[in-house]
Protein backbone atom coordinates (compact mmCIF):
# COMPACT_ATOMS: atom_id res chain seq x y z
CA UNK A 1 0.00 0.00 0.00
CA UNK A 2 1.18 3.50 -0.84
CA UNK A 3 2.53 5.39 2.16
CA UNK A 4 1.84 9.11 1.99
CA UNK A 5 4.11 11.68 3.64
CA UNK A 6 1.07 13.29 5.18
CA UNK A 7 -2.69 12.85 5.42
CA UNK A 8 -4.80 15.82 6.48
CA UNK A 9 -8.13 14.92 8.06
CA UNK A 10 -10.71 17.65 7.58
CA UNK A 11 -11.20 20.47 5.08
CA UNK A 12 -12.28 23.38 7.23
CA UNK A 13 -10.11 26.47 7.68
CA UNK A 14 -7.39 24.46 9.48
CA UNK A 15 -7.31 21.54 7.03
CA UNK A 16 -7.47 23.70 3.90
CA UNK A 17 -4.72 26.04 5.09
CA UNK A 18 -2.66 22.97 5.98
CA UNK A 19 -3.20 21.67 2.43
CA UNK A 20 -1.92 24.92 0.91
CA UNK A 21 1.25 24.75 3.00
CA UNK A 22 1.70 21.05 2.30
CA UNK A 23 1.38 21.65 -1.43
CA UNK A 24 3.99 24.41 -1.28
CA UNK A 25 6.29 22.08 0.67
CA UNK A 26 5.75 19.59 -2.17
CA UNK A 27 4.76 16.84 0.22
CA UNK A 28 3.12 13.67 -1.06
CA UNK A 29 -0.19 14.21 0.69
CA UNK A 30 -3.93 13.75 0.67
CA UNK A 31 -6.92 15.46 2.28
CA UNK A 32 -9.81 13.35 3.57
CA UNK A 33 -12.99 15.13 4.63
CA UNK A 34 -16.69 14.65 5.06
CA UNK A 35 -17.35 18.19 3.83
CA UNK A 36 -15.61 21.34 2.65
CA UNK A 37 -15.50 24.41 4.85
CA UNK A 38 -16.62 22.80 8.08
CA UNK A 39 -18.34 25.16 10.47
CA UNK A 40 -17.12 28.17 8.47
CA UNK A 41 -19.56 27.20 5.71
CA UNK A 42 -22.36 27.55 8.24
CA UNK A 43 -21.25 30.93 9.49
CA UNK A 44 -23.31 33.93 8.54
CA UNK A 45 -21.47 37.19 8.16
CA UNK A 46 -17.76 37.30 8.91
CA UNK A 47 -16.22 40.67 9.70
CA UNK A 48 -13.02 39.68 11.47
CA UNK A 49 -11.00 37.69 8.93
CA UNK A 50 -8.09 39.92 7.97
CA UNK A 51 -8.27 41.16 4.42
CA UNK A 52 -12.06 41.02 4.32
CA UNK A 53 -14.03 43.70 6.09
CA UNK A 54 -17.13 41.76 5.24
CA UNK A 55 -17.56 38.33 3.74
CA UNK A 56 -20.10 35.57 4.19
CA UNK A 57 -19.02 32.16 5.48
CA UNK A 58 -19.84 30.60 2.15
CA UNK A 59 -17.85 33.09 0.12
CA UNK A 60 -14.84 32.68 2.37
CA UNK A 61 -15.07 28.90 2.11
CA UNK A 62 -15.34 29.16 -1.66
CA UNK A 63 -12.13 31.19 -1.70
CA UNK A 64 -10.45 28.66 0.61
CA UNK A 65 -11.48 25.84 -1.68
CA UNK A 66 -10.27 27.62 -4.83
CA UNK A 67 -6.94 28.20 -3.12
CA UNK A 68 -6.65 24.53 -2.19
CA UNK A 69 -7.69 23.25 -5.62
CA UNK A 70 -5.31 25.69 -7.30
CA UNK A 71 -2.50 23.35 -6.28
CA UNK A 72 -4.23 20.30 -7.71
CA UNK A 73 -4.59 18.86 -4.23
CA UNK A 74 -6.14 15.43 -3.96
CA UNK A 75 -9.31 15.76 -1.88
CA UNK A 76 -11.31 12.72 -0.83
CA UNK A 77 -14.70 14.27 -0.23
CA UNK A 78 -17.70 12.70 1.49
CA UNK A 79 -15.28 10.36 3.21
CA UNK A 80 -15.23 9.86 6.96
CA UNK A 81 -12.26 8.59 8.94
CA UNK A 82 -13.50 5.87 11.27
CA UNK A 83 -10.24 4.75 12.82
CA UNK A 84 -6.77 6.15 13.21
CA UNK A 85 -4.06 4.00 14.76
CA UNK A 86 -0.31 4.28 14.99
CA UNK A 87 2.08 1.37 14.46
CA UNK A 88 5.80 1.58 15.03
CA UNK A 89 6.55 3.01 11.61
CA UNK A 90 3.30 3.92 9.98
CA UNK A 91 -0.05 5.54 10.79
CA UNK A 92 -3.08 3.64 9.55
CA UNK A 93 -6.40 5.19 8.62
CA UNK A 94 -9.63 3.41 7.96
CA UNK A 95 -12.46 5.38 6.34
CA UNK A 96 -15.96 4.44 5.25
CA UNK A 97 -14.52 3.90 1.77
CA UNK A 98 -10.87 2.76 1.95
CA UNK A 99 -7.71 2.19 3.99
CA UNK A 100 -4.70 4.50 3.91
CA UNK A 101 -1.20 4.71 5.35
CA UNK A 102 0.92 7.74 6.09
CA UNK A 103 4.11 8.76 7.86
CA UNK A 104 2.40 11.73 9.46
CA UNK A 105 -1.16 12.91 10.02
CA UNK A 106 -2.77 16.24 10.83
CA UNK A 107 -6.13 15.94 12.54
CA UNK A 108 -8.21 18.98 11.66
CA UNK A 109 -11.65 17.43 11.92
CA UNK A 110 -13.25 20.32 13.79
CA UNK A 111 -16.40 20.26 15.83
CA UNK A 112 -20.01 19.36 15.31
CA UNK A 113 -23.30 20.34 16.89
CA UNK A 114 -24.15 18.84 20.23
CA UNK A 115 -27.40 16.88 20.33
CA UNK A 116 -30.14 17.38 22.89
CA UNK A 117 -30.43 13.68 23.64
CA UNK A 118 -34.21 13.73 24.03
CA UNK A 119 -37.04 11.63 22.65
CA UNK A 120 -37.93 12.55 19.09
CA UNK A 121 -34.69 14.33 18.27
CA UNK A 122 -33.30 11.75 15.83
CA UNK A 123 -36.73 10.95 14.44
CA UNK A 124 -37.47 14.55 13.52
CA UNK A 125 -34.03 15.56 12.28
CA UNK A 126 -34.64 17.28 8.93
CA UNK A 127 -38.35 16.94 9.58
CA UNK A 128 -38.52 20.28 11.33
CA UNK A 129 -35.54 19.82 13.64
CA UNK A 130 -32.23 21.19 12.46
CA UNK A 131 -28.78 22.11 13.68
CA UNK A 132 -28.15 24.70 10.99
CA UNK A 133 -30.19 27.91 11.15
CA UNK A 134 -28.42 29.50 8.22
CA UNK A 135 -29.10 26.50 5.94
CA UNK A 136 -32.64 25.62 6.90
CA UNK A 137 -33.97 28.85 8.44
CA UNK A 138 -35.56 30.11 5.21
CA UNK A 139 -37.84 27.05 5.08
CA UNK A 140 -39.69 28.24 8.15
CA UNK A 141 -41.10 31.46 6.72
CA UNK A 142 -44.19 32.53 8.65
CA UNK A 143 -43.98 29.60 11.06
CA UNK A 144 -43.61 29.38 14.82
CA UNK A 145 -40.22 28.02 15.84
CA UNK A 146 -38.12 27.28 18.90
CA UNK A 147 -34.42 27.95 19.28
CA UNK A 148 -32.84 25.76 21.94
CA UNK A 149 -29.90 27.33 23.74
CA UNK A 150 -28.88 30.68 25.17
CA UNK A 151 -25.33 31.33 23.98
CA UNK A 152 -23.90 33.07 20.94
CA UNK A 153 -24.89 30.46 18.38
CA UNK A 154 -28.46 30.41 19.71
CA UNK A 155 -28.60 34.21 19.56
CA UNK A 156 -27.19 34.15 16.04
CA UNK A 157 -29.87 31.65 15.01
CA UNK A 158 -32.61 33.73 16.64
CA UNK A 159 -31.42 36.89 14.88
CA UNK A 160 -31.51 35.14 11.53
CA UNK A 161 -35.00 33.82 12.20
CA UNK A 162 -36.44 37.14 13.38
CA UNK A 163 -36.82 38.25 9.77
CA UNK A 164 -38.25 34.92 8.63
CA UNK A 165 -40.36 33.17 11.24
CA UNK A 166 -43.65 34.33 12.76
CA UNK A 167 -42.73 33.79 16.38
CA UNK A 168 -39.56 32.56 18.04
CA UNK A 169 -39.35 30.90 21.44
CA UNK A 170 -35.88 30.77 22.95
CA UNK A 171 -35.63 27.82 25.30
CA UNK A 172 -32.67 28.36 27.57
CA UNK A 173 -31.78 26.13 30.49
CA UNK A 174 -29.82 28.85 32.33
CA UNK A 175 -31.35 31.64 34.38
CA UNK A 176 -30.55 34.24 31.72
CA UNK A 177 -29.15 34.40 28.21
CA UNK A 178 -25.38 34.39 27.86
CA UNK A 179 -23.39 35.50 24.82
CA UNK A 180 -22.55 38.93 23.42
CA UNK A 181 -24.39 41.86 24.97
CA UNK A 182 -25.12 43.46 21.59
CA UNK A 183 -26.75 40.32 20.21
CA UNK A 184 -28.58 39.67 23.47
CA UNK A 185 -30.12 43.14 23.45
CA UNK A 186 -31.23 42.83 19.86
CA UNK A 187 -32.98 39.54 20.63
CA UNK A 188 -34.53 40.82 23.85
CA UNK A 189 -35.87 43.92 22.15
CA UNK A 190 -37.56 42.07 19.33
CA UNK A 191 -41.33 41.80 19.59
CA UNK A 192 -41.75 38.35 18.06
CA UNK A 193 -39.33 36.64 20.44
CA UNK A 194 -40.32 35.02 23.74
CA UNK A 195 -37.44 34.04 26.01
CA UNK A 196 -38.05 31.06 28.26
CA UNK A 197 -35.22 30.91 30.79
CA UNK A 198 -34.61 28.12 33.26
CA UNK A 199 -36.37 25.78 30.83
CA UNK A 200 -35.28 22.61 29.13
CA UNK A 201 -36.66 20.52 26.31
CA UNK A 202 -37.75 17.03 27.30
CA UNK A 203 -39.21 15.79 24.01
CA UNK A 204 -39.78 16.70 20.39
CA UNK A 205 -43.31 15.95 19.23
CA UNK A 206 -45.01 15.48 15.87
CA UNK A 207 -46.22 12.98 13.31
CA UNK A 208 -44.57 13.26 9.89
CA UNK A 209 -43.08 16.62 10.82
CA UNK A 210 -42.46 18.53 14.04
CA UNK A 211 -45.60 19.85 15.69
CA UNK A 212 -44.26 20.90 19.06
CA UNK A 213 -41.89 20.41 21.95
CA UNK A 214 -42.32 19.47 25.57
CA UNK A 215 -40.66 21.88 27.97
CA UNK A 216 -39.76 21.48 31.61
CA UNK A 217 -39.71 24.58 33.76
CA UNK A 218 -38.93 23.56 37.32
CA UNK A 219 -41.52 20.93 38.14
CA UNK A 220 -43.93 22.17 35.53
CA UNK A 221 -44.12 20.60 32.12
CA UNK A 222 -45.87 22.17 29.18
CA UNK A 223 -46.21 21.75 25.45
CA UNK A 224 -45.33 24.42 22.95
CA UNK A 225 -46.76 24.31 19.43
CA UNK A 226 -43.92 24.93 16.96
CA UNK A 227 -43.16 23.70 13.45
CA UNK A 228 -39.44 24.23 13.66
CA UNK A 229 -36.80 23.37 16.26
CA UNK A 230 -33.29 24.83 15.99
CA UNK A 231 -30.82 23.12 18.29
CA UNK A 232 -27.97 25.48 19.23
CA UNK A 233 -26.57 24.15 22.48
CA UNK A 234 -22.91 24.11 21.62
CA UNK A 235 -20.37 21.93 19.89
CA UNK A 236 -18.38 18.76 20.49
CA UNK A 237 -15.04 17.86 18.89
CA UNK A 238 -14.92 15.24 16.14
CA UNK A 239 -12.27 13.22 17.92
CA UNK A 240 -13.92 9.87 18.61
CA UNK A 241 -12.04 8.06 15.81
CA UNK A 242 -8.64 8.96 17.25
CA UNK A 243 -7.21 6.23 19.48
CA UNK A 244 -4.34 6.54 21.89
CA UNK A 245 -4.06 10.30 21.60
CA UNK A 246 -4.44 12.35 24.76
CA UNK A 247 -7.57 14.46 25.05
CA UNK A 248 -8.85 16.87 27.67
CA UNK A 249 -12.15 16.68 29.56
CA UNK A 250 -14.01 18.19 26.64
CA UNK A 251 -12.56 15.49 24.35
CA UNK A 252 -10.43 18.07 22.57
CA UNK A 253 -7.08 16.70 21.38
CA UNK A 254 -4.22 17.97 23.53
CA UNK A 255 -1.45 19.67 21.56
CA UNK A 256 1.67 21.62 22.40
CA UNK A 257 2.82 24.87 20.82
CA UNK A 258 4.07 22.94 17.79
CA UNK A 259 0.72 21.21 17.24
CA UNK A 260 2.22 17.90 18.32
CA UNK A 261 0.03 15.36 20.11
CA UNK A 262 1.51 12.85 22.55
CA UNK A 263 2.11 10.47 19.60
CA UNK A 264 5.06 11.34 17.34
CA UNK A 265 3.90 11.94 13.75
CA UNK A 266 0.35 12.76 14.76
CA UNK A 267 -0.41 16.47 14.76
CA UNK A 268 -3.68 18.32 15.28
CA UNK A 269 -4.98 21.79 14.45
CA UNK A 270 -8.01 24.01 14.86
CA UNK A 271 -11.26 23.51 16.73
CA UNK A 272 -10.71 19.80 17.40
CA UNK A 273 -7.76 20.71 19.64
CA UNK A 274 -7.46 22.32 23.06
CA UNK A 275 -6.13 25.54 21.49
CA UNK A 276 -7.66 28.45 23.40
CA UNK A 277 -10.26 30.34 21.35
CA UNK A 278 -12.04 28.88 18.37
CA UNK A 279 -11.95 31.29 15.45
CA UNK A 280 -11.63 30.84 11.69
CA UNK A 281 -8.42 32.81 11.56
CA UNK A 282 -6.94 30.92 14.49
CA UNK A 283 -7.82 27.57 12.94
CA UNK A 284 -6.21 28.66 9.67
CA UNK A 285 -3.03 29.75 11.46
CA UNK A 286 -2.92 26.52 13.42
CA UNK A 287 -3.26 24.53 10.20
CA UNK A 288 -0.20 26.18 8.71
CA UNK A 289 1.75 25.71 11.93
CA UNK A 290 0.89 22.02 12.02
CA UNK A 291 2.24 21.43 8.50
CA UNK A 292 5.48 23.24 9.27
CA UNK A 293 5.91 21.01 12.31
CA UNK A 294 5.02 17.90 10.31
CA UNK A 295 7.56 18.86 7.64
CA UNK A 296 10.26 19.11 10.31
CA UNK A 297 9.23 15.74 11.67
CA UNK A 298 9.35 14.14 8.20
CA UNK A 299 12.82 15.53 7.54
CA UNK A 300 14.13 14.24 10.86
CA UNK A 301 12.56 10.82 10.50
CA UNK A 302 13.36 10.23 6.86
Amino acid sequence: MHIYDLIIIGAGPAGITASVYAARKQLDFLVISLDVGGQAAWSGDIENYTGYQFITGQELVQKFEEHMRGYGTMLKENEEVLELTKDVQVIRLKTNKADYQARSVIIASGKKSKELGVVGEREFKNRGLTYCAICDGPLFAGKDVAVIGGGNSALDAALQLIKIAKHIYMVNNALSLSGDVIMRRKVEETANVTILNNSSVSAVLGDKFVKGIKIKHGLQEKELAVQGVFVEIGLIPNSVFVRGVEKNQKNEIKINLRNETNLPGIFAAGDVTDVPEKQIIIAAGEGSKAVLSAAHYLLKNN
Partner: protein, 78 residues
Amino acid sequence: MAKSVKVYSTPTCSWCIRVKQFLKENNIEFQNLDVSGDHLAVDEMMAKTGQMGVPVLDIDGTIIIGFDKDKIKLALGI
Protein backbone atom coordinates in the same frame (compact mmCIF):
# COMPACT_ATOMS: atom_id res chain seq x y z
CA MET B 1 -32.58 12.95 -24.42
CA ALA B 2 -31.54 15.27 -21.62
CA LYS B 3 -32.95 14.32 -18.24
CA SER B 4 -35.21 16.68 -16.35
CA VAL B 5 -33.35 17.95 -13.31
CA LYS B 6 -34.90 19.96 -10.48
CA VAL B 7 -32.94 21.36 -7.56
CA TYR B 8 -34.77 22.42 -4.39
CA SER B 9 -32.49 24.81 -2.55
CA THR B 10 -32.08 27.90 -0.41
CA PRO B 11 -29.66 30.72 -1.24
CA THR B 12 -27.91 30.32 2.12
CA CYS B 13 -27.07 26.63 2.16
CA SER B 14 -23.53 25.83 1.13
CA TRP B 15 -24.31 22.31 -0.13
CA CYS B 16 -26.97 23.80 -2.44
CA ILE B 17 -24.37 26.06 -4.00
CA ARG B 18 -22.02 23.10 -4.44
CA VAL B 19 -24.71 20.97 -6.06
CA LYS B 20 -25.50 23.71 -8.55
CA GLN B 21 -21.81 24.28 -9.22
CA PHE B 22 -21.36 20.57 -9.86
CA LEU B 23 -24.26 20.49 -12.33
CA LYS B 24 -22.93 23.55 -14.17
CA GLU B 25 -19.45 22.06 -14.38
CA ASN B 26 -20.96 19.01 -16.02
CA ASN B 27 -23.12 21.10 -18.39
CA ILE B 28 -26.34 19.74 -16.93
CA GLU B 29 -29.35 21.99 -17.36
CA PHE B 30 -31.54 22.23 -14.29
CA GLN B 31 -34.48 24.06 -12.82
CA ASN B 32 -33.68 25.74 -9.51
CA LEU B 33 -36.53 26.01 -7.01
CA ASP B 34 -35.72 28.42 -4.21
CA VAL B 35 -37.76 27.00 -1.34
CA SER B 36 -37.05 30.00 0.89
CA GLY B 37 -39.52 32.22 -0.92
CA ASP B 38 -41.83 29.64 -2.41
CA HIS B 39 -44.36 27.84 -0.19
CA LEU B 40 -45.52 25.64 -3.04
CA ALA B 41 -41.99 24.46 -3.70
CA VAL B 42 -41.51 23.66 0.02
CA ASP B 43 -44.73 21.62 0.06
CA GLU B 44 -43.72 19.82 -3.13
CA MET B 45 -40.31 18.99 -1.68
CA MET B 46 -41.78 17.82 1.63
CA ALA B 47 -44.30 15.64 -0.18
CA LYS B 48 -41.61 14.08 -2.37
CA THR B 49 -39.10 13.42 0.40
CA GLY B 50 -40.95 13.51 3.71
CA GLN B 51 -38.25 15.80 5.06
CA MET B 52 -37.13 19.43 5.01
CA GLY B 53 -33.37 19.30 4.48
CA VAL B 54 -31.94 20.96 1.38
CA PRO B 55 -30.62 20.44 -1.23
CA VAL B 56 -32.97 17.92 -2.84
CA LEU B 57 -32.55 16.79 -6.43
CA ASP B 58 -35.24 15.32 -8.60
CA ILE B 59 -33.60 13.67 -11.61
CA ASP B 60 -36.34 12.21 -13.80
CA GLY B 61 -38.20 11.13 -10.68
CA THR B 62 -35.16 9.83 -8.81
CA ILE B 63 -35.00 11.75 -5.53
CA ILE B 64 -31.61 12.47 -3.98
CA ILE B 65 -31.30 14.24 -0.64
CA GLY B 66 -28.06 16.12 -0.06
CA PHE B 67 -24.99 16.53 -2.25
CA ASP B 68 -24.29 12.85 -2.82
CA LYS B 69 -22.00 13.06 -5.84
CA ASP B 70 -21.95 9.32 -6.54
CA LYS B 71 -25.74 9.00 -6.52
CA ILE B 72 -26.13 12.13 -8.65
CA LYS B 73 -23.66 10.84 -11.22
CA LEU B 74 -25.43 7.50 -11.33
CA ALA B 75 -28.86 9.11 -11.81
CA LEU B 76 -27.51 11.37 -14.54
CA GLY B 77 -25.58 8.59 -16.21
CA ILE B 78 -22.32 10.56 -16.26
